[in-house]
Amino acid sequence: MNLRMTLATTTRVLDQLRHDHRSVALILVVPALLLTAVYFLYENESLPPGATRTFDRVGLMMLAIFPFVVMFLVTSITMLRERTSGTLERLLTTPIHKADLLFGYALAFSIMAALQSLVATAVAYWIFNLDIKGSPALVVLIAVINAVLGVALGLLCSAFARTEFQAVQFMPVVVVPQILLCGLFVAREHMNQALDNISGVLPLTFSVDALKEIAGNSEATATMWQDALVMGLIVVGVLVLASLTLRRQTR
């Protein structure tokens, strides 16, 4: 690992993104807009006294899911372009270490994800009065870990796609099952055994669990840190797998 090369990669990826105003706008604004839609969907629900609003539950989970989906898409397309344009092969003829490249990417998109979730969390918190016991800073932290997970999976999946069209098709395969089973639609305790078992090994489930901990406790709990740690380990594992797909030599 070489910090200079990692940071050069981060700067380069952010520089590329900076020239693409439309993508930056979409990354920053769309989650906040969707959150607004969710708020108004449940605007007129009638609640028994003391019950939590559906928005407080669903809106909170969406804060973690957005960065995951968006960063998965952005990363898999960007990395695929890097593979097809020949710049990846060229880079691998230079002294850059694969880890410099992958961590450079992960860092760049984490910065974007942090900005994205700051906007979305701020909107949820201040405009729609999202009611959680824990700190919104922890929500942003979990969102950023989710984003890095999206980056890592995107880097890995780009190796299995030849075209951008194929890369997009990986979303229903990799992302949608995690959203369905993470506990957003049906709580895990109401799932049948098979689905619950699958849910238990999907990374997004851990972030939803962590968010529930944040919502229910004013201080960070051990369970939350444990969830965050598991997510972190999964991210590292996926990044290692992704690095195996970067070959300096073709057969």
């Binding site: 200079r4 520089d15 590329q16 020239h19 020949g86 003829t93 230079t94 002294p95 300096r248 030599q249």
Partner: protein
């Protein structure tokens, strides 16, 4: 001039490139069928041959991005593709491998960062390919010839000891082409070895040694003067065609003889 260069070099300096019995297969297709050659340091070696003759595959094997099936390639005394060589070998692919959505300067700066290049190195590399007026322009907005020069600048910024260039002058006007060849000559005089592929025969005269490749076989390694003599023409293109046709005739005769 070449003699003084040879004497100035340390006596034990290894060949810049040395291939023995080099075979490469892409999947099931055999592309290179046992090549043997050496390129001395500080020279411009021209790699010439019809399209599909294996020029790019040979260059990729020298750079170390193509796995070889048999034989060996040694670059600057080390097996091609070994880690220390990544600092010393520059590779410019046929299609420009640069980021179209970045400025010229950002591209060169990024590839320079892998070689600890300074801001002055970046400016020098951009000036060397005549793009100093376009440093802040997005690469994708440049013309085709300018775009491919960005790719060259990204290799020059590393000050490589061996520079491998795949068809670097395609799409360039005659003035620029002449300037680039002057640049290459100056680099060679300073000790850099260049391996340059081309299918424009007039460019062969700029090289000190020529590798003639046809269907994955090395037809000959000779100097431009020897090419003119063997091909029986001062026009190198005609000389090359004569040699190619002679090789084809020889092959047909051997097929007739064996059938």
């Amino acid at each position: 001039m070449s003699h003084t260069a040879r004497h100035a070099a340390p006596p034990a300096a290894p060949a810049a490139i040395s291939a023995t019995g080099l075979h490469v297969a892409l999947g099931r297709t055999k592309v290179l069928h046992g090549l043997d050659f050496t390129v001395e340091p500080g020279r411009i070696a021209g790699l010439l041959g019809p399209s599909g003759s294996g020029k790019t595959t040979l260059m990729r094997a020298v750079v170390g991005v193509q796995r070889i099936t048999q034989g060996s390639v040694t670059v600057l005394g080390l097996p091609a593709g070994s880690a220390p060589l990544r600092r010393d070998v520059g590779y410019v692919t046929q299609g420009a491998s640069v980021y179209g959505d970045l400025s010229v300067e950002a591209n060169v700066r990024y590839f320079g960062a892998m070689h600890h290049a300074t801001a002055a190195d970046v400016a020098e590399a951009i000036a060397a390919v005549g793009l100093q007026g376009f440093a802040r322009q997005k690469a994708a907005d440049l013309s085709g010839g300018q775009f491919s020069r960005v790719s060259l600048a990204c290799a020059l910024v590393a000050h490589p000891k061996l520079l491998v260039l795949d068809e670097p002058t395609v799409g360039l006007d005659p003035v620029l082409r002449a300037e680039l060849w002057e640049r290459f000559a100056a680099m060679a005089a300073a000790g850099t070895t260049l391996l340059v592929s081309s299918h424009v025969m007039e460019e062969a005269s700029h090289c000190s040694s020529l590798l003639l490749l046809r269907e994955g076989l090395l037809l000959a390694q000779l100097t431009p003067a020897e090419l003119a003599e063997r091909g029986g023409s001062e026009d190198l293109e005609r000389a090359f065609l004569t040699i190619i046709k002679a090789a084809e005739r020889g092959q047909q005769e051997s097929q007739v003889a064996s059938s």
